[in-house]
Symmetry: C2
Subunit: 803 residues, 2 copies
């Protein structure tokens, strides 16, 4: 296993789901297509996953074990490509004896390779080699190639290549009771002798999805003419043809597929475009060449090199980091940006069905990496929010607030998609779900706008879109905050913080907590930044926006007042209370439960099954108070607390980290990332341990079964960002790119290229030096700060800082 490939040899029972998620191919376009949340049904279908798919929906066992689902060559359900020998059965892995099996995900080229050698019932030995890609350069194309080589027999094979629109959503066990069929067949037909097409429609959102497939046979780089028969069933179309094969004469079947939807720009009718695309497309090898080049360009921008000590070995860490960045780039793809698709970042990628493709707050962990690499993507994703500003305004209005209140779970049109009940698989009970009270998603969006601007200096975005969103969010916080005459401070009541274990007070009638510290402080931060955002606008736009939003001085005065007098609960010796009353909760019996249950990551389900609730305990699912130390440098925090009139010393940080780290179950994959981050400077060994655990989270499926339901994109990006910003101390603040490197002892050297305000910077950090070079460009010089030195760095220059 090198730095650039994820290899599985043979089968391990129970591992298929994980392989499926991790080896899923997509290019953002394919993945995001057809991903319209089915608002009525509260479920989502994303055929892109299947099409791009690795090991979808398989419960396979090899060598005497059951294979429940379709055969392995048949995997991407939308794209069956299979064969039978003579008049035998269609090839299925369970009908043959596997002699060898190897699967490789080539990260560098975005290629999935599989080789299978098998012995069939007639005693024939055959080699199969498969290559698949979902094109990163041609967003509408995917291709697969199956090479069949008989070892010791000659004969006929019958090949079937099809498009199947009858697929359903069945990838998440606990959603089985929900509606699973989301596609209606519309039309199937041949395009020409070589190509067929299929058109379906999502049943609530009425998005039409057309696919076309061109299948051809190659031998010795020559196309073999074959006689085809068309098979049509409702929602299904296939072509069959016969081939003669013999040893030493391997034959390749190539299937090039296109996908268009009724929402694509620059199209006439989507079926017509899909047909045209497969007609224009070249053969597998030429598609691969352009595809690999597109990936090469992405890797130039995103790769991070780090060297570990002499005992480095095969560098599994580097491979996993690449794997995670690979998945990030498949989901938040440069293709969705250039296609102008209106998509957000779903927390599980487009890789599985969990959370139904909904958009949560994960951007907060995902954007920092992209902001400093390809901020055009971040901008496109922020536009997803902008286009749903009116829906957020309506949500605020309906709840009696002003401004814009973005939903905890966002879908097609931006309305609240959070479920009101969820199933606890442990108890089999449906439990009320109050997660929509996580209003803090509205600080995440504002924070992201601010960070995007800091990294890019993109005033046009701020001027047209960013400021309007930011100010409407500020307005929401200004209106939800209520003055307490008793405290002489502002409060925010009845919300939930990032820690979802606590959604209310024990035995309280209504859900929600008062004065969640994270929410309150972040709201104060938003209200502090609001006038600064206004100040960035050119004079005329400022006037326009004030008129448009009817934003008056008295409202801005109120914001300023709130930003200085927001209440923050404390208890004990400088411990920030997660929320008001947290200190009244019981301590949790961590040791006892760990003994009894071993894995207590989903403590909420365990306690619910015991008729108990985490609301009674000082027990968190994930970082809540500690999010503050993740989002802000200590300098910024000191300023913020000072402004609020609360004492804050540097010791506050380790004290709080220690306090909450002891009271966390890491029930979210985001948790380890944040905890590793906040410890990076105070406790490097422990930080490294958490980093290593976070790095393994999806590869090892440490939550035991959640990765097959969809990768954890926030954690993946967060881990990469921990290397990018955590260890370099990169901070984009006040028109300066600040560096404050602090490599873990395990790393000798770290190198990467980042973008900052139009400049491409090569950054190399060793234990003793930090070297920054600015590539040639035509932008104005930027300012770089390292430790206490701030310099101006013009294009073409290099500067070395001694640490």
């Amino acid at each position: 296993m090198g730095l650039w490939s994820l290899v599985y040899e043979g089968f391990e029972p129970g591992e298929e789901g994980l392989r499926e998620a991790l080896c899923t191919l997509g290019n953002g376009y394919f993945a995001a297509r057809g991903s319209a949340p089915e608002a009525e049904a509260d479920t989502i279908h994303y055929p892109g996953t299947y099409l791009a798919g690795g090991y979808n929906r398989l419960k396979t066992e090899i060598a005497g074990r059951t294979i429940e689902n379709e055969d392995l060559v048949n995997l991407p359900n939308w794209l069956p490509l299979t064969f039978r020998i003579d008049n035998g059965k269609w090839f299925k892995l369970q009908n043959v004896e596997i002699l060898s099996y190897r699967q490789e995900l080539d990260l560098k080229r975005g290629l999935l390779l599989r080789t299978i050698r098998f012995l069939d019932e007639q005693g024939r030995r055959t080699n199969l080699a498969e290559r698949r890609l979902v094109h990163m350069g041609e967003p509408h194309l995917a291709a697969l190639e199956l090479t069949i080589a008989p070892e010791d027999w000659s004969g006929n094979i019958i090949v079937r290549s099809a498009l199947d629109g009858r697929v359903i959503n069945a990838g998440v066990e606990r959603y089985k009771r929900l509606s699973s069929k989301h596609l209606e067949p519309m039309e199937t037909g041949p395009i020409d002798a070589d190509a067929i097409y299929l058109k379906v429609q999502t049943n609530q959102s009425e998005i039409r999805i057309a696919q076309a497939a061109r299948t051809c046979v190659l031998q010795d780089h020559q196309t073999l003419p074959v006689k085809r028969t068309t098979i049509q069933e409702p929602g299904y179309i296939g072509q069959e043809f016969a081939l003669e094969v013999k040893p030493g004469k391997e034959v390749s079947i190539e299937k090039v597929v296109s996908l268009f939807t009724s929402r694509d720009p620059g199209i006439s009718e989507c079926g017509l475009e899909a047909g045209k695309a497969v007609t224009w497309a070249g053969h597998f090898d030429s598609l691969l060449e352009a595809h690999a080049r597109a990936w090469e360009h992405l890797w130039r921008r995103f790769a991070m090199e780090f060297r570990r000590g002499p005992s480095d070995g095969e560098n599994r860490m580097g491979m996993i980091l690449n794997l995670y960045i690979f998945h990030l780039l498949q989901t938040t793809s440069v293709n969705t940006m250039t296609m102008g698709l209106d998509v957000g970042v779903p927390s599980r990628g487009w890789h599985g069905e969990a959370y139904r493709g909904h958009i949560f707050w994960d951007e907060l962990f995902i954007f920092p990496l992209i902001n400093l690499r390809l901020p055009e993507i971040t901008k496109a994703l922020l536009m997803y929010r902008y286009r749903r500003l009116d829906e957020a305004r309506a949500a605020a209005r309906e709840s009696g607030f002003k401004g814009a209140m973005y939903p905890w779970q966002s879908g097609s049109n931006g309305r609240e998609e959070s479920q009101k009940l969820h199933l606890n698989p442990k108890s089999g009970r449906w439990i009320p779900d109050n997660s929509r009270l996580q209003r803090h998603v509205n600080v995440a969006i504002a924070y992201n706008i601010w960070q995007y601007y800091q990294a890019t200096g993109d005033r046009e975005f701020i001027s047209f879109y960013g400021a309007e969103m930011f100010l409407e969010i500020a307005r929401f916080w200004g209106s939800i905050a209520a003055y307490s005459h008793e405290r002489k401070r502002y409060e925010i009541l009845g919300v939930i913080g990032p820690d979802e274990y606590h959604d209310g007070y024990p035995d309280a009638e209504n859900p929600g907590l008062n004065n969640n510290a994270y929410t309150n402080i972040m709201a104060a931060w938003v209200l502090t930044r609001a006038p600064e955002i206004v100040h960035l606008l050119p004079e005329d736009r400022r006037k326009e926006l004030h008129e448009l939003l009817d934003l008056r001085q008295e409202e801005m005065d109120r914001w300023q007042e709130i930003s200085r007098t927001m209440f923050v609960p404390f208890h004990g010796d400088g411990i920030i209370s997660q929320f008001e009353g947290y200190d009244q909760l019981e301590e949790f019996d961590w040791e006892g439960y760990r003994k009894r249950y071993n894995d207590i990551q989903r403590l909420d389900r365990i306690l619910e099954a015991e008729d108990d609730t985490p609301n009674r305990y000082k027990a968190s699912k994930q970082a809540d108070v500690l999010m503050l130390f993740y989002l802000f440098s200590s300098e910024e925090l000191v300023r913020l607390f000072e402004q609020l009139g609360y004492p804050f010393e540097y010791e506050t940080i380790p004290k709080n980290i220690d306090y909450y780290l002891h009271r966390t179950s890491h029930g979210s994959t985001l948790s380890r990332v944040v905890h590793s981050w906040v410890l990076a400077r105070s406790d490097r060994p422990r930080s490294w341990k958490l980093f290593a655990e976070a790095l393994e989270s999806d590869v090892a499926d440490i939550q035991g079964g959640t990765t097959p339901e969809g990768i954890h994109l926030g954690a993946m990006a967060g881990v990469a960002d921990l290397v990018q910003r955590g260890y370099t101390g990169i901070e984009t603040r006040g028109d300066v790119l600040r560096l404050n490197p602090c490599l873990p002892e395990e790393l000798d050297r770290l190198r990467m290229e980042i973008r900052y305000r139009g400049h491409s910077l090569d950054i190399e950090i060793t234990g003793k030096t930090c070297t920054v070079s600015a590539l040639r460009c035509t932008e104005k010089p930027i300012r770089i700060g390292c430790k206490d030195t701030v310099i101006e760095l013009p294009e073409g220059d290099t500067r070395e800082f001694t640490l």
Copy 2:
């Protein structure tokens, strides 16, 4: 008639069509919606026009003359709102005696107002007042309000408010033989007691369009409850209700309409969104308030003040200029930009059916005005081209060329939509149409990319999109240009220039001309700029793009060679031949034909009807060679000709202008704009005369009937740009904003605000001074040149230049 309103009092027979076009309301979103060219049928339907409409499809005569079509209150066919008194007939203008009639288009607020006083068959006198808007701030909304005031009677009125999806395209007489029905009814139904909806689908492109209407009745600012009956027919839904009215108690019926299509971002299913939008919308007056504010913001950016001499009077010129800018802002709307709609600029706006909404080269005349006001719109429109780059690549490939060859007429997916035959209404014959050979649309797009960059300095756009398009266009020119060993120069054969009268040599078998001077010189210009565009890219992106396009040094060397040795035909004394062999053509009998036909603007049709052809004569429809003097300052032209190794003196300009002006019929509305422009410095009185004619072109419908088929957006924008850039001499070249004012004698003073590289500049020009002020902003200082002085102008500063 003030500066801000277009008023018609009473009816003039034959004027209805013109009123219809000029008073059409739209906000870009509404107008562009459903505007998918029907690729199969080669026709287009744009329901937006009807919805927004003024006087669509009316052939009305008043007072004893026939009213062929639906009644006037019923005008926007999608939105019937009419009434009858007691059990009488539905109100129709032809059934009543009109006592007075007044129509006003309020440009400042984007409001159409009509008042009608009539006497009916029963001798009752009634006043009707109507207000309509298509919302500029809420892109999905439109509203109309009908106030009925009985003067001398009391009784019941029955009101019907409906949505009608059965509309057809029948606005252009000569298209009557083409397919006219483009919508299929899908669904109709009630939303709630007050609201109804309609869903239709375009029949080739399958775009779904949903409309919802909420109708209510107001008296003394109170909503009157009414009992409604629903009327449903296929593709039609209406509500009827009865009202009691009496003198002194006027009643207003308010209809708020929403429109969503399946292509809108941020939506679930379009019918659901349409219903939600009318539920959320306020009443007419509150909608108007926000609508007027949106227009106020646009006018702040786009208004131009000019003062004429003391005899100025009512300032009709200023009103027309405002009218034209108004139409420009309705078509290339800030709403289509924020909605992220994938639309281009159709040459007839969205106001009529001529040219079927296709996109030609008119951007060349339209973008300059927008570049210096709201360049985000230009960028969005350039993205229309970028999204069709693959189709342009395919077109080049299919014609045996490299790079990208954009079509002369572009539609939904960017394929060539030019008709192959067209009807000469004069002869009744269908004539071969070779207009697709106007490859020069590919210089227009490249020129537009360059100018956009010059005005904005937007490197991000160039880096991601602009450079790729530009280089692919350069590549096309590099491949269509062929080396002539005889001439030792490059040639471009078999094309057509802007002058469509000449599409081939007389009696030649194949269409096309050789070495059209405009095309050749512009191609050389594109190839000169190509390396400069590359140079703008940051180092890493440059490398990426070279790899992506497989762009090698030898190809760029070839471009450079072509850009220095392109052949340009000349004849006589420094006259640039419109194309090779132009001098061999016969002189045309202008005087004779003017006498015989009076209007010879469409000389092509006249000659074809006489079995002759303009190909035989030195007679042009519009500026062709002279386009060069329109697009380039004399300094730039001198440099270009020098580079090509041709002599060029300043006298060349007036000589060529004079030569071609005498040989032009002004068969295109663009022609006068260009001619006025090129004369602006050498012959100010003649230039002013042409400006005044160009200004009247749509208001007076000087082509006799073409304005009702759709406004001439290129000419409208061109006229405004003549004021903006022609008289100020504004040129954005080499990172400097250059001014070279030259006011016509008829103007005392000119004032405007423009955008340049993030700065808002207030520019005021009198006969003697030119004053430039930069508003507060946070961009880096810009350089301003006036005559021979170049200065740096920081934000907040003012500088006066003496002329």
